[in-house]
Symmetry: C2
Subunit: 386 residues, 2 copies
Amino acid sequence: MTFTPQLRIPGPTPLPEPVVRAQSRPMIDHRGPEFAALLHEVTEGAQRVFGTAGDLLVLTCSGTGGMESAVANLVSPGDVAVVALCGNFGERWVNILRGYGASVVALEAEWGQAVDPDDLREVLAAHPEASLVFLTHNETSTGVCNPLRELAAVARAADRLVVVDGVSSVSSMPIEVDAWGIDVAVSSSQKGWMAPPGIAFVSVSPRAWARREQARSPRFYLDWGQAREWGAKGMTPATPAVGVLFAVQEGIRMLEAEGLSEVYARHRRIAEATAAGLSALGFELFAAEGYRSPTVTAALPQPGVDVAVLRELLRSKYGVVIAGGQGKMSGKMIRIGHLGAVSEGDLVQVLWAIEQALEELDVAPAEGRAVRAASDVLGRHAVAAG
Amino acid sequence: MTFTPQLRIPGPTPLPEPVVRAQSRPMIDHRGPEFAALLHEVTEGAQRVFGTAGDLLVLTCSGTGGMESAVANLVSPGDVAVVALCGNFGERWVNILRGYGASVVALEAEWGQAVDPDDLREVLAAHPEASLVFLTHNETSTGVCNPLRELAAVARAADRLVVVDGVSSVSSMPIEVDAWGIDVAVSSSQKGWMAPPGIAFVSVSPRAWARREQARSPRFYLDWGQAREWGAKGMTPATPAVGVLFAVQEGIRMLEAEGLSEVYARHRRIAEATAAGLSALGFELFAAEGYRSPTVTAALPQPGVDVAVLRELLRSKYGVVIAGGQGKMSGKMIRIGHLGAVSEGDLVQVLWAIEQALEELDVAPAEGRAVRAASDVLGRHAVAAG
């Protein structure tokens, strides 16, 4: 029996109760003073989370819309862009760029591996005509966290514009947009921000603004210039998702009340506990060691386990909702999201349920291995913190 | 003193309590069976409201994003389009089209007037190279409701593709997309649908799909093909605004429980009462008689009344939030939104407050004229209905 489902996919993430209450506030005029105060607070909060003193735009769309805004505002047909990718969301950059008529040089790491900064350096040296580099911070489809700081440094050293998909990273792990030389980063509300989907955040550096002046792709709804111009007046060009912004405002308040460094530490230790628990159950962690994501863990089950059957059993009997594979890994892996409003106990519940389900599927007897392994990790963290 | 503000702008509109409760439901997996059921119900409900058996796409963006999707999916650079406009939102079609490299033939009626179907017939005859016609059903900036059925008939008789901005009309007044020969219509959640902003609805006819095959503008996030393909699997291509969809689902249930014909009649009689009340106070109704919108009333105050001062007094003292003018009418008019969750009593409260405010501003003594005039109209309707 379950009463409250455990939604453990890599976004949308569960909403904390104060966020639910915040989004239930009565609707307001999106051209009035209350909205201006809301937009101002959200913008400044997001700037702190991104680590930027530059422009931070709030768009009403999903993370993909935010990604497309980067292409629409920066790229003209015929431009050459390097995409350093290692999964499904890296491929999304490729698809959007090609849709806008760009020529793409793809540097593809094997799925499960991170992009190597040395490989990026070589590709950039071989392609001086490529003026832009598109990166994925946290590859949600494989559970790989790329070495963003190093990759951005390589691209900046080669004087390229650096555009980052930070959809499932920003607010859950360290990022310093200005200090790391990132020109554009994108995130969205339904990930670590603990809010519902509907809002994308986009940071834009002065270099990116300068490039935008030259870019000739059509854009209206996703136009950064309009967003900045109206933002200066406390408004958005079109009607924004006001209710989602109420939620985002509360989510950022909660992140800052907890403290960003503790938020990041919590994500890291829950990710380690998840990895330990799954390993104890015989799953093979998909992401290479050293590059495992703090927000999503991808793992391959023992041969013979039908992922669809496992997920359905978890959902229907235990109220535990986890994700499957994407793209070419569809049906082959499980992915557990542990970002945003997630506690140690939440993951203990998930791991316990998986172990029970595996027994039920005659894979292995439930002996408490997963929870014990996770507890060991969490205990070590507690000792280290104490 | 006010406790609950009267939000009477032409969107976002107030949320009924059941809608607030619906959007507070726990977040769900946007790739799971519950979401598929949600999307299915919303899509079918919206099809009934639009009056179409054709495709109805649900996009995560504002109405402007829905409008841009029509241009991005139908228009190639160099295409010629006729835009029949009479206000700010008609100009939005022009701006989006030009942004995508289209050549625009603008048929512009004076602000406050409706577009004349005979004028459209002439323009189409003079411009056989214009293969598309863009219309505004309800021009939110002027309170004019265009004769959409007649305009669409003229465009279809001339064998042009008909694209309609129905953002502030659909669900508040009669529309029959299939029967009237409309190829594409756009609406959005924060208007008559009684939900928060964040979702746009787009109906797409077979003729529009055929044209899309040829259109060469870049599109990814707003691509209709992706939306249809994923929709058939009970999903959206990118993460949708799930919470807004919970709200939309409940809003449509409420519209259908009331009955669409009664919803339309309610909007019509409240609009008439609003017009009568404002006229009694000496306002000049901006929209031409016979073309006054059921969802928004625009009116010019007596000379000497500062619109900004009046609106601020209404907001701060009476909790009544109304809109001002847009574009070239900025600062010159008031606009009262009466769509979605609006009762007769709500407008009585608004009219009473305006009369009080005018007395306070030394414009005219408050003698109950506005409420009396509105009551007379509502009384006649009650007698007619009885």
